[in-house]
């Protein structure tokens, strides 16, 4: 029997490799696995098949409003336990919209690496390793 990889899985949803590239390094070098999606459709698929522990979600994707990923998965088991929004806008309304859609936090790009590191542990509870 192959041993299951118990490292937490992070799904990064953003259409720019400029954003996903450094974040992949950040999470992989700190003991997590990473999956990347560049659109609403592929993010929904990735949630269904990979069941990530944390989703970082860009709010503006090529095929529409990033927050609709949460809307589509609402009430299903594929909805990630924690979602954090990534945005280019820092006004109160954007923040309210993300929170209303169910995001735990809202990060302004460029994603502050210190904050990410500080919060990662609370966003991704270690997986309960089954005996």
């Amino acid at each position: 029997m192959t041993k299951e990889d118990t490292r937490p899985l992070v799904l990064i949803v953003d259409d720019s490799p400029h954003v996903t590239g450094p974040l992949r390094i950040l999470f992989e070098e700190t003991g997590r696995r990473v999956v990347v999606a560049a659109s609403i459709v592929s993010a929904v698929r990735a949630c269904e098949t990979e069941r990530p522990d944390l989703m970082l979600l860009d709010v503006s994707l090529p095929d529409g409003d990033g927050l609709s990923v949460l809307e589509i998965l609402h009430g299903t088991r594929a909805l990630p336990p924690v979602t954090v929004a990534l945005t280019g806008h820092d006004d109160d309304l954007t923040v309210q919209r993300c929170r209303a859609a169910g995001c735990r936090d809202v990060l302004l790009k460029p994603v502050p690496v210190r904050d990410l590191l500080r919060h990662a542990a609370e966003w991704i509870p270690e997986r309960v390793v089954s005996a």
Binding site: H18, P22, L26, D91, D92, K109, P110, V111, L117
Partner: protein, 277 residues
Amino acid sequence: MTARTDESTNALHPSASVEARLAALEVAHQQALREIAELKGRDTLKTQFLANISHDLRTPLTAIITHAEILREGILGELSTRQHESIAGIISGGRRLLEMVGEILTYARGAANQLEIAPTEVAVGDVIEQVRRLNESLVARKELCLEIRVASDVPRVIADREKLAHILGNLLGNAIDFTPAGGRVWIRASRQHEEDRDTVLVEVGDSGIGIAADHHELIFQEFAQVDASASRQHHGTGLGLTIARRLVELHGGRIWLESELGHGSRFFFTIPTQHQA
């Protein structure tokens, strides 16, 4: 001497009839309208280009900053002191560039009437404090004395917190930039009543180099700087005040200044307590 002339070009000739002259005037008027429309179209294209290009400049820039921050945090290995210094340089240069690109984007959106405000109830004193903290290290480095006075009766305003911080940040940034080391800079807020409405009056003042009366209008224009020479000491986009004015006006307020060359500057703006859309 000429036997026949084009009516439209020579309609103002003494021999032309009043009718012909009126017709010529109409032709010239239509021509001018067409030219204005074309210039406006080009201006819109240029603004759109600015907005697009600054958005596209942001993304690779954020990659540079994030990569550098990952290095700084030591995730990819411990750094020597010198490596730390070098990476800190990449991060601060990158952040400064990002700020300038952001200013150009805000300006272009403003010029294209694409700037919107998201008003909530805001305590002006809190925003002043936020901006003070952001500028703390600059103030300390130039050994300036920064004094803040918010009158106790200043009411809350209905405003876009982020944009209010942007206005204050641009004005305080200028006050710091244009005041020699050891000088004084201040921010004051008080309650005002003007034209049967309540407003909050904010003053950002400094004991710095001042601005000659001739330039009071000019500096609010896009890209305008009093010293625009290549050898100028101060480097910036020249958009800070254009943006500040746009944002104040979006809130229904006014912005103006009192200043004399060599005698410091006082910039004032008002924000109505009730937002009128």
